[in-house]
């Protein structure tokens, strides 16, 4: 990886540490997504399959902690919405701001607070923590950025904090294909 460090544009520097896009999920936490995730990972943990175990261990059914980010993701389509509905809007803002057509996530940190339960309504906001100078990796040339997301339930209890490191990039011309 090469590093051609440059300063961050002023408009972006002003957004560092600022809470953006506060959103409350449009539907409550429900067990269907827990079952989907359990099936997708072949997870037989009785905490999520057996109500009696859930009652004894956690005082009732909970959602898998790692499904936290699920509640920030919009419906792919809904009435009145235009264009692709995306999660983590700050990530897509940065792609557009730097004209970087492609992106991948490289790091993910999750800190879990109070359990999330069916019926909870989760709110979240995104905070841009950092943007790197130009970098070149095997994928192409672009920038890394770190975005934090804080999740709360309807009572304002902190249920988790998540941090993503993304790499927005443009593929090398010789590889072609990026549009």
């Amino acid at each position: 990886m090469s590093d051609e460090s440059t300063e961050l544009p002023e408009d972006l520097a002003a957004l560092i540490g600022v809470s953006q896009y506060p959103v409350t999920a449009t539907f409550p936490v429900e067990r269907g997504y827990t079952y989907n995730t359990l099936a997708a990972t072949q997870n037989g943990n009785p905490l999520y399959w057996d109500d009696a175990v859930a009652e004894q261990v956690t005082g009732g059914m909970t959602a898998l902690p790692t499904t936290l980010s699920l509640w920030m993701r919009p419906h792919y389509w809904e009435p009145g919405a235009e264009g692709e509905q995306v999660a983590l809007q700050v990530h897509f803002d940065l792609k557009a701001r730097f004209d970087l057509p492609e992106a991948v996530m490289t790091d993910n940190t999750l800190i879990f607070g109070d359990p999330v339960r069916p019926g909870d309504v989760i709110s979240h906001a995104q905070v841009l923590r950092s943007v790197s100078g130009p970098k070149t990796t095997k994928l192409g040339s672009g920038r890394f950025w770190v975005i934090d997301i804080e999740y709360k339930n309807q009572d304002g209890d902190l249920v988790g904090v998540e941090s993503y490191t993304g790499f927005g990039y443009r593929r090398a011309a010789a590889e072609g294909g990026a549009a």
Binding site: N36, T41, N43, P46, V57, E84, M105, G113, D114
Partner: protein
């Protein structure tokens, strides 16, 4: 009601190795994981987008689904009383259909915090053949005694 016998803190020692988990990855594994996490981005279900736009070999496992696999791997070991407090992972290479992903883990830390919560630090490695695709550091709470329950902890008694 059958809560399986939990893993207790005093049964864990730094250097302990978790049983390996091997999973054959299919296109369904990738798509099911993406949709379960409401991740509609096309690189997780559209081969042409993944290969022609992203320039990778195939559709690939998405980030939240990897987190869910790590959680499953950890709680397979701890049992249902194990409560993951913190997880940090770095994805160095992608997981594609046709891969056999292998999870392995080693205990790196065994501690008790000021609130009496027992914590185990585990370094998990996700490999495909010779490729190390992801490395994950996990902090998971396990019972300190037979009558302890990490899930009962709230507020100042839960410091992940």
């Amino acid at each position: 009601m059958n809560v399986p016998t939990p893993l207790l803190l005093d049964a864990v020692t730094v250097g302990d190795r978790l049983p390996e988990l091997s999973v054959e990855v299919t296109p369904t594994t990738v798509v099911l994981g993406a949709l379960a996490s409401r991740d509609w981005r096309p690189m997780h279900h559209d081969y042409k987008f993944a290969t022609e736009r992203n320039g990778v070999a195939d559709i690939f496992l998405n980030t939240p689904n990897q987190a869910a696999w790590f959680e499953r791997y950890l709680t397979d070991w701890t049992g249902p009383l194990g409560r993951v407090g913190r997880m940090k992972f770095r994805m160095k290479d992608s997981i594609f259909p046709g891969d056999t992903m292998v999870f392995s883990g080693e205990v790196t830390e065994v501690t008790t915090d000021d609130a009496g919560c027992g914590w185990v630090g585990v370094e998990v490695t996700l490999t495909v053949g010779e490729r190390t695709c992801s490395s994950c550091s996990v902090r998971v709470a396990v019972p300190s005694s037979a009558d302890d329950n990490p899930w009962a902890r709230r507020g100042d008694r839960w410091v992940p």
